[in-house]
Symmetry: C2
Subunit: 314 residues, 2 copies
């Protein structure tokens, strides 16, 4: 799409290498970020106007783009995908953190794989039972950019509970068996650098890395666009973990506006929809939660019939 859409009025900014620096020279140009909506198709494109370009950089791993948009506020995009916006990151970060933390009976030690913007760490730090969080982010440049330009997400990088490593999370997981109660994988889509975070081998390693009773939660795509992918993933993980489930959340800036989480536990017969720790309204208020609540936890496991059927969830 990028090439096709360039004319004298519009510049698509997805690729830092191609256009580095040029975009500020010509004030008459509109700047846009374009995202192709489904993994295997380019038949659907979401274009977000860059009202103000804040930061762009090619790191060792990806293109990092931070900008201001009138609808979404401050936005972070990595390569060709929107990662988080000020408007709706709450719906993603609160859910990917509190779903597994509240499903585990005593989530003392937490591992975050990915999550370089800091949003997941911010939420995990709030949980009273969490004592230590290890985070492995492969791309230090994302963390640095977030610290500088996305303080609403990166505020917890200085929290005492958090130990941040700039290394491959997959490698870390392999070398630390039986250490964590909860492992959250906050990855990009399964193409490019994050591809290996969706294979059987990774989930095998996660299983080993968990202590008894451990729970995982991973970003698991949209049921509208990637149902077959989710089906395959669900099958894979179901062969490794005795309990598996899928929860959904609404994120306006993601293609389809829906994204899911795959949850799995080392215990059998876990009812993921029933949180073991129940946040009162006062708790939610105290934690500054905008999206998550006990009833949202429960509701997020209610799936459309066509999804339940595809995943064999009764």
């Amino acid at each position: 799409m990028s090439g096709d859409s360039n004319n004298n009025k519009k510049t698509i900014l997805n690729d830092c290498q191609q256009q580095n620096g040029k975009e500020t020279a010509d004030d008459n140009k509109e700047l846009w970020f374009n995202e192709t909506a489904a993994l295997d198709f380019d038949d659907l494109v979401i274009s977000t106007r860059i009202n103000r370009l804040i930061h762009r950089q090619r790191s060792d791993y990806q293109n990092i783009l931070i900008f201001q948009n009138q609808v979404f506020g401050r936005c972070l995009a990595l390569d060709d995908a929107m990662q988080a916006t000020e408007l709706d990151e709450c719906a993603y970060h609160e859910m990917i953190a509190f779903l597994p933390l509240n499903v585990h009976s005593d989530p003392k030690r937490v591992l975050i794989v990915g999550g370089g913007d800091g949003g997941v760490a911010r939420e995990c730090c709030k949980h009273q039972l969490v004592e230590q969080i290890v985070q492995c982010e492969i791309d230090q440049q994302v963390v640095e950019a977030s610290k500088r330009y996305l303080p609403f997400m990166s505020q917890s990088f200085k929290n005492d509970k958090l130990m941040l490593n700039f290394q491959d999370g997959y490698e870390y997981v392999r070398k630390h068996p039986n250490e964590f109660d909860v492992i959250i994988t906050d990855s990009c889509d399964p193409k490019g650098p994050a591809e290996s975070l969706f294979d059987s081998e990774y989930y095998q390693q996660l299983f080993q890395c968990l202590r008894p009773g451990g729970v995982i939660c991973s970003q698991a795509e949209s049921y509208w666009y990637e149902l077959k992918f989710i089906q395959l993933l669900f099958d894979k993980v179901g062969k490794i973990f005795p309990s598996v489930s899928y929860a959904t959340t609404s994120v306006a800036s993601y293609p389809s506006g829906q994204i899911g989480f795959l949850l799995a536990s080392k215990e059998a017969n876990v009812n993921f929809a029933e949180p073991k720790h129940r946040f009162t309204e006062q708790d939610c208020e105290h934690f500054g939660l905008k999206y998550y609540s006990e009833s949202m936890h429960q509701a997020s496991f209610v799936l459309p019939r066509f999804v339940r059927k595809a995943l064999n969830i009764s």
Copy 2:
């Protein structure tokens, strides 16, 4: 946006008058449908490729466009907004129909305002308690186009329960006090022809048009992009009806992927989240439901905390 994006590779098809006929002449052109995502901003655009143009027409009221897209299947767009796609119309039509029908204790007589594609009527016809459905669609051309090109939605136009009038629903409502148990307003966005379907006067008329115990359900925008609009609407309707609520559904082809319904009842203290008629899995199977279920009914009233706060829902 339309003008900005035209170059020698892309043609935006939203406006039938400007480009009528030309798009098929040049096979090298890509055809796209562009939608601006939020009511008051043009900073976010969703572009859907037209793999095959099926029908386009300028009716007395609007531009009608029907096309094939690889992700969504068969699509219907009116003016600048996607209305329904084969992939996800189930999530809209099943919910806007069964939420009010199952909240009412005996929904014998149903009025549909709008809904020219036929999707709402299709669902209402399935309900065993519904005896008669009157539908008022102002634009006969939408119905004709749907009958011809969207059979999966228009199949119920021939159902014996349905009486279809080509007239202004607002006018019909005004002239038929105390006649209906459920009134469903399946309208476009509140700009252009459907604007009056969001004002106090319309809701006043709906109240009169209902029999005792009557329930309404109206398309009520996205909480991500139009929260202030929903707040105002909620306030207006709350001054007319003793019980009001808001439910949510996930529709991939709509901007933000989320759209809500405003429900209201002539009765006080209605618990909208608890359906009075409970569909078993067998019922759902029998009705061919892809999205709605009893648990989805309940879950659809669970809203993010920031929405609950904005609408003063505890």
